[in-house]
Every structure is written in structure tokens, then in C-alpha cells.
């Protein structure tokens, strides 16, 4: 269980990284924390001939508040997020999500950018990104551009990034004051990838729900936003019955979910509803 041979580069700037990726084309693979890529290399399921390690690129490791959002450098470790006071105070949803990512040893190495770029359908960060309308800042051969979360997650392990693109920053908008949020998931063991999970945000304005967001993960090929459920919730007054109904709706409307040895599509469909319902109840409980 050893990787196939590859050349290795350790550029020190984003420009150099992009140039290397461009030079080597689709045979090249970018390496961040390696917590998803190196297992695949070891199993020879990923076989790049060139590995470009962004670990030595300066200036991609930061969290700061800018214009109502947290701007997070792509190479910021998940552990840094977990321990950031800024994140805890300004976007506790992101901290809660982080604590569900693997284990401390994984989070010590795994990066925010890596998780989002890897786009595992059961991963927490992509779901949070979608729920918050995050923006991905990307450096590519043609310069910089920004991709909206809604356009970013294309399908299973596939994003809108081109082979020579480097994700440099993720901007996670802050929730409006008083908004409720939750991230809930069910996994076979603590720390495992979720069989199904939900990220929910909502506000309550004079007794009725405003701007609800219901995003599921672990269910489809990408994180999925369930607009039907959001429409059903908007303007209603929060109640257990309403959340149960929304959960049912989620189970009904989502596309055929993934099926694997841990959960059939039928079970995931059901769990999606349960997670949505539980997520809604928890988020409503946090509304200030």
C-alpha cells in the first residue's frame, strides 16, 4: 500500500503554484493537508505524476472578519478554526461543524480549502459553505475569480475548480444577529463521515420564520439545498409540528440518495428528513 511514483514540487507562492499546475496539466495534483489525498495515493486510487504541495505557500493561513464575513485562507487548518476565538464568537456554526470533522489528529493537518476542494458529499464544510452562500476565491491561469457556493459543488468529489486552479480563500458570510443555526448528523461511529446530516439556519421575525436555509449532506452527490422545505417554513411560526412536516417534505422531494454498505438509499432518504427536522428544532432553539 505505497503510492505510485510522482514528482514533487513545493512552491512558495500562489503564482508559482498556478504556473506549476498549468505546466503539468491534469496529471498534476495539488496537495494541501493530505488527509484525503494521501490515503488515496497510498491505495493508488489517485495516481498523479506530479504533486504540488501548497504547504509552503505563504499567506494562505488566516481567519479574519471582513465586510460581514469570515475570510479564511485555504490553508488554514481545521484545528485553527476549531480553536479560533473569532470563529467561536462570530460564526459558532463553523466551529460546531469543525468539531464533527474526523478527529483532532486529522484536523491538525486537514485544511479548510482542502475539505471544500475535495467536496466529499458527506463532508461538513461544503454543506456549511452552501448554507451560508460562501464565496470561493480562486487563483487560476487567467487570474483571480470568485465562485459562489451554489455554483461550486458540481457532483461527487467534483467542483467548479479547473485542474490549474488554486482555491485561495473561502468567505463565509456571518449570520444576521439573533439568527438560529445548527449542524446535526448521524454517523456509525463518533467522528465518521455522516450517513446523513443537515445544516440549518433561520431567523424569526415577529413570530415567523425568515430566511430559512436547509442544506443536507451525506445524502446526494453534493450538499443539497432543499428549497421546497425552505418555502414551506418561511413565514410560518416555528413549531415541532412544522419541523416534522418539513422533515417529511425533505424526505419526499430529494433526489434518489446514495446507497452504500452503511445505508441504503431508502434509509438515507428517511434520515435526511429526520436530520432536517432535528436540525430545525435545534436551530429554532438558538434563535435569540
Amino acid at each position: 500500500m505505497k503510492p505510485a511514483p510522482f514528482e514533487y514540487y513545493a512552491p512558495t507562492s500562489v503564482a508559482e503554484t498556478v504556473a506549476l499546475l498549468e505546466q503539468h496539466g491534469p496529471e498534476a495534483k495539488l496537495l494541501a493537508g493530505g488527509q484525503s489525498l494521501v490515503p488515496l495515493l497510498n491505495m493508488r486510487l489517485a495516481r498523479p505524476t506530479v504533486v504540488v504541495d501548497v504547504g509552503r505557500v505563504a499567506g494562505l493561513d488566516y481567519v479574519r472578519e471582513e465586510d460581514g464575513a469570515l475570510a479564511i485562507g485555504a490553508m488554514t487548518s481545521q484545528r485553527t478554526i476549531e480553536r479560533s476565538e473569532l470563529v467561536e464568537q462570530r460564526l459558532p456554526l463553523l466551529r460546531a461543524a469543525t468539531r464533527l470533522v474526523g478527529h483532532p489528529q486529522i484536523r491538525n493537518r486537514g485544511t479548510v480549502g482542502g475539505s471544500i476542494a475535495h467536496a466529499d458529499p458527506a463532508a461538513e464544510y461544503p454543506a456549511v459553505a452552501l448554507a451560508l452562500d460562501a464565496q470561493m476565491r480562486v487563483a487560476g491561469p487567467g487570474g483571480e475569480r470568485v465562485i459562489e457556493a451554489a455554483d461550486f459543488f458540481v457532483t461527487y468529489l467534483t467542483t467548479a475548480l479547473e485542474p490549474s486552479d488554486v482555491l485561495t480563500e473561502v468567505r463565509m458570510p456571518l449570520l444576521p444577529g439573533g439568527a438560529g443555526w445548527s449542524i446535526v448528523e448521524i454517523a456509525r461511529r463518533h467522528g465518521d463521515f455522516a450517513l446523513a446530516g443537515a445544516v440549518v439556519t433561520l431567523s424569526v421575525d415577529s413570530g415567523s420564520i425568515k430566511d430559512p436555509r436547509v442544506v443536507l449532506f451525506g445524502v446526494g452527490a453534493t450538499p443539497i439545498r432543499v428549497r421546497e422545505a425552505e418555502e414551506r417554513l418561511a413565514g410560518e411560526s416555528p413549531s415541532e409540528a412544522l419541523f416534522t412536516e418539513a422533515g417529511k417534505l425533505v424526505s419526499e422531494v430529494i433526489d434518489e440518495p446514495l446507497s452504500d454498505i452503511h445505508a441504503t438509499a431508502e434509509f438515507r432518504r428517511h434520515l435526511a428528513g429526520v436530520m432536517a427536522q432535528r436540525g430545525l428544532a435545534e436551530a429554532a432553539g438558538r434563535v435569540a
Binding site: M1, K2, A4, P5, I186, R189, H262, T264, F267, L271
Partner: protein, 805 residues
Amino acid sequence: MGGFEFPKSIDDLPVTNPKWVGRPVKRVEDPQLITGRAEFIDNVELPGMLHCAILHSPHPHARIKSIDMSRAAAMPGVVTTLTGEDAERWTRKSYTTPEGWGTYVLATDKVRFVGEPVAAVAATSRYIAEDALELIDVEYELLDPIVDAFAAAQPDSPKVFDEHENNIMYQRKFTWGEVDEAFAQAGHTYTEKFRWHRVGANPLETFGVISEWDLVEDTLTCRGSFQTPSYMAMGRAATFRLPSNKVRFIGQPHGGSFGGKGGGRGTDITAMLSRKAGGRPVKWIEDRIEYLTAGGSQAWDRHYEVSIAVKNDGTVTALRVKLLDDLGATAEGFGATGAVKPMASFTGCYAIPAAEYDLTLVATNKLPASPYRGMGPPPHNFVLEQMMDIAARDLGIDPAEIRRRNFIPPDQFPYIIPSGNEYDSGEYEAALDKVLEMSGYEELRNEQEEARAQGRLIGVGVVSTIEPGVFDWNAYTVIGTRGIGIPEGVNVSIDTMGKITARVGFALEGQGQYTVVTQLLADYFCVELEDVRVVMADNLSAPPNFGPGGSRLGVAITGAVLGAAQRLTEKLVKVAAKLFEVQPEDVELLDGELRVKSVPESKISVRNVVGIMLNRSDMLPPDVDPSPEATFAWTAPGRVEPDEQGRVKSYLTAANACHLVMVEVDPDTGMVEILKYYIADDCGTRLNPANVDGMIQGALAQGVGAALLEEYVYDENAQPLTASFMDYLLPTIHEVPMPEKASLVTPSPFTPLGAKGAGESAIHTTPAAIMCAINDALLPLKVRATEVPASPNRVWKLIQDAQQQ
């Protein structure tokens, strides 16, 4: 044995105040392990060593049309390559039980499971060796995969072995007592089907080996993580047609085994590669994917149909078990013994007078089954205990009470069960009472009532099981193993400085047996633990031995150590007798001194007697040679061949445990949460209570895994779907409960010091207990979980089906 009288209890040791035996002394194994210095096999580097990588079949069933090794062989760094042709030339097909279901270590005519070794290379690094595998060209002709056990057992099924008539490896119905009559007369009979999916050992260290074939002397030396080095050595001698004293096996400390270390194939492949590479040592470290898909990893793939006959008062009068066990592609590696071992404790803790075992072992295109801790009874106990609960529910008897009514009473021991094994001793009711008291059983039931009233699914399982201890080959005679008795030997010597060395034939594996040997000798000769050292001897230097397995080593090595110590003492006594000018009968060993029995001042230390033996030939009695050492090999007494119905006294001891577990099932997700766990355990005298406790807790974790998480999955084409630890789920610190434990001590009348086999431990009980608790939780829904593991998907589906009815 040999006229030996073994001390029956710790108090009988030749020491006034035993300081070590029976106490939780620190382990002598630990310093090297916690500093990272223990010499695990992958730490060993030999000069000129090459690295092996194995090409495994991607197909479950296919004919090999051609193999072209030329591109791989030509790759820089590759020294030699190997295929089935070499295996055919140099080896015999694997020895199997049942006989005749073996293959060569590398596929020759066809492949029979995904993961079967097809070719191998030896190269200057593992990286290069794996690169070379990609240059091997194999052409396969695909055959229909055989994956369903029931279909495989049909006469029209495609065949795993063309030379056999069908895929039935073994079929036999054992009847013990008047079973039909009992069922005909029973007030109540209950029948249920159960499914236990494949689980397995998964030690944290996979198998590894370094083989070295000396071409000049034609000797083979293998170092590796062998659970049973001397048996492996004998097997290799037979496989390679080598004189057995030309095969040397050195056991390295290893990172657990639990029966699942396997290794026969890897050993033979590296041996042949070394032979082809001019004798250079060749190392193979099985990687985790290889372990999971092609190693000694998988056990117990079972389909049960079980019936019990019960009287109105809850007395069980007969048990019928029909088992179809899917052994996978071959019968190598003793996987089949797991289906026979339940005969050693067939009727559990209960005085059920009649029983029947209808056993079929079938071949399919899955990985050949291996042994795993417990060796087969855990699924059997699971089905038996579910049946007890089913009867209890129907008859309105509390689950604890129905067990109490059926327990073998303490005054009936030794007790012979219908399947022939003899239980040595037991206090089953006392263990049950202990657990009920610890848990506050009545209160738990009240809590459960309240929870149920709120619509919560809470359940309590209470289960008593037997752990057969000290296995003997005669337990498996019916399936083709040979021999009666398993010698476990030790050599003990004392040097001029009074230091003691014990040589054993097994390596460190985790159970703490070196510590037990140290404790025994330190008390026997009344010295400090530091004065004793235990060393591993290779198969050519060690006395006859087997090593760990079948909960036997603790008892067996105790017998061996006490026997050797006694033999050594007899020599010392003679020397001392001459010195004091008395008869040997007048001299005894006590508190580390040889004393004249009637004259307390006439005494001399063991160390000084040894000094005399080694340095004063003039003072030696004529019949004593100057060698202060002795060897003793212990084997269980009174073992014989089975009778015509397979009945035999096989396992010498019967430990008992009672577990009580409370769970909550989440009806929306099917997740099972363990809320409370209590254990009362009785394995006789505890030589080192901390060792025993460690076995219980570790086996409990494995039981939790088996009940809730672990499962080897194959798809309908016999492709394994659990090739990584992301898919085969081992319990972590989050999933394993920390139970309240109590111990009872009912010594065995049959063993030295009264200890019973205790190594397999809670895995016999935990899966049964958890499943009983889940079914208790599901009771209001009138559904029953009969499939293990009770994954969330399965449990949810059951609930779902119930709600839709």
C-alpha cells in the same frame, strides 16, 4: 500426569506468604512496549533483505489462462518473481480441515476468491515491489461467482473445486439424547432463524514475516508475528518436504492476534522468493487492505435455524440447532473448527438434557474463514440466548428468572453436557444474583416501564454464558484434526547468582503470559520479580509447545511452570539431602530454602544449592548431574477420542460470565446506545486479576463491535466491499461502555491452582447480551432483531416494517 501432584490453590505453593500470584502485579512485558523498543517484525532489518509484494486476484472466480511476469521481472530493482508454477513444483497444497479443500499458496488452475495470491515479486523496496505488480499481465476467463451459501449448497450450483462433487465441505447431524421425544412432549416449542455476518480479529499489527532459505544447507529460517511458531514450523516442513529440524521459526513480539494472524501463505511465498533470490532474506508485511480482503481476518458467516422445547414452567428440555456456515473458498487455516467448538458448551449454562446439531459447511467464492477470539461459540451463544428470551416472553417469565430455572445447579459438577464436554465447576446462580444486585435490576425494569410509557425504546438484556477453556485437538476430531493433547512446555533454570530463567515457545502477544510465568516462579522460589526472566525460544530450542489459543495458555503454562519448578526442586532436594546427610524425603523447599523437615535450623538457600551443583562436583550425589534446570510439558489430563456421536471431554474448564446491559434504540435512526453495563465473571482462581480484567474489557469491546458495527460485506458478485477501516468499523473509545464489574471465584478442581481459561472472555457473552437488550427494547413493536450486527439501517428497517403493518 507423570505422577505429579499440582498445587490446587495458591496457598499450596512452597511459600508462606505468596507475594505475586493472585495479585495485579505490573507486567514485565511493558517497559519494552511503552518505549517503542519491542522488536515487532517490521522493525527487523537483515543484511541484503528484499521486500515482497503480492498480486491478488481481482476476481472471485476465474480460470487463469496465462500469467506473464516478464515485464515485472525486467523492472530495475526487482530481484525475482514467483507464480503458481513455483508453488506447484516446491510445495504441497495446504493442509485443511476438513481434508481435501486446499490449494497451493499461489493460484494455479483458477482463482477462488478476490484477494487470492496469484503472483509475487521480491524487490529492493516495498515501493518498487508494488510498482512491479502493475507490470504483471494475467489473463483470466471469468467464471460464475458463488456467493450465496444456500445456493452454493444446492446440487446444481457452480463449483468452487471442480474435483469435488459439490460445495458441501462437511455435513453431519449430531443427536444427543431423546430430542424428538422431548419436542413431541414439550408444552411449548419455539423456532427462529438467525443470521450472523462475517466478523474478524483485526489486530492492530497485521501479519509479517521474513524468510531466509539457506541454499547450501537447505535450511529455512522464518521470523514473524506467529501466534504458534512451532506449529507453523511443522506445517512448513510438511509443505516444503523439508526435514523438520531444518526449519527454524522465531516468533517476534506481535501486535495482537486474536486467532486472526494467519500467515501461512505469506510465509510460504517469502520462503520461495528467498530460495529463488539465492537465499537473500525476504520480508513481507501484510498491509491493511490485504489483511481485510485476503488475510486471516474473517470468521463466522452463519445462517441458523434454532428450536427449543420448553415446559410450562420454563424448563428447557431440548435444543435443536441447524447451522449453515459459509467457510469461503478453502478450508485452510482452521476456520472450520469454529463451527465445531460450540459442541464444547452447546447447551450453555443450562441443564438441557437433549440436543441436536445439524451442521453444514459450504464453500463459496469468499475469503477462506479464519479463527477469531471465541472460536465459534459467540454466534451460537447469541442464538441460544435469544431463544431463552423468546420462551421467557411467551411464558410470561422474567428473562433472568427463566435462566435461573434452567441453570446447572452447583452440586451437580463436574457436569457432562449432552454434547459430551464436561464442565468442571460453576456458580451460575450466584453470578446472576451478583449482576442483578449490582444493577438494581428491579429498579432498571421500573425505569424501563416509565421510559416505555413515554414512547422510548429501552431494553435490558441479561445473559449467562460459558467460556470453554483449555482447548484440546480432540474437540475437533470430528472435522479432521488429529491428535489428543497439546503439550505446553517450559524450561526453567537457576544460575549461580540465584537468577531464574524460563524459556517458552511463544512470543509476546498482549495477554501478559510472561508476567504470569514470572509471578509463578518468583513465588515458587521466593524471589523478587526482577530475579526472573522469561525468554522466547525458537521452535528448535523450545520444549514442545503450542502457545496462545482456545483460552488455554494461562492454565497450560501454569501447569508447565509448576511441573518444571517441581522437577528442578527434586534435584535441589537431593543435593541438599546429601549435604545434610538425610534422605531426600526429609528435605523440602519452603520460602526459597531447602530445609530438613524436622530440623528447622538445617537449611540452605536455593542459590547456594545451585552454587554447589555447578561448582562443587565433589559434593554432588551420584544420581544428580550438575544442571540446575528442568523441563516440563503440561497437557490436559483425561482427554480421549470422541464417541460415535462426537461426544468428548474436550475443553478442560468452563468459566462463566453473566452480563446485564441496558440499551436505548432510537426509532428514527435505528441507532443503539448502550446506557448501562454490568458484568459478573467467574474464571476460577485469578492468577493476575488485572490480566483477567484486561481480557474482559478488551473482549467486551470486540463484542460491542460484533453486535453493532463490524461486518465483512460482499456484493452479489462476491466482491468484498469492506477493504478499509472506513468500511470495516472497529469500536473506538466512544462506543465501548465502561461497565461495573464483579468477580466470583469458583476454582477448577481439574487445573493447577484452580485457574480456568479466561482469554476469550466477554466476546462469548457481549453480543448475545446486547442483542437480547435490543430485542427487549423492540418488544412493544412486536419485531425481533435476528441479524448481527444490528446496524442502524437494519434496526430502522425492522421498526419501519413494524409500523407499516
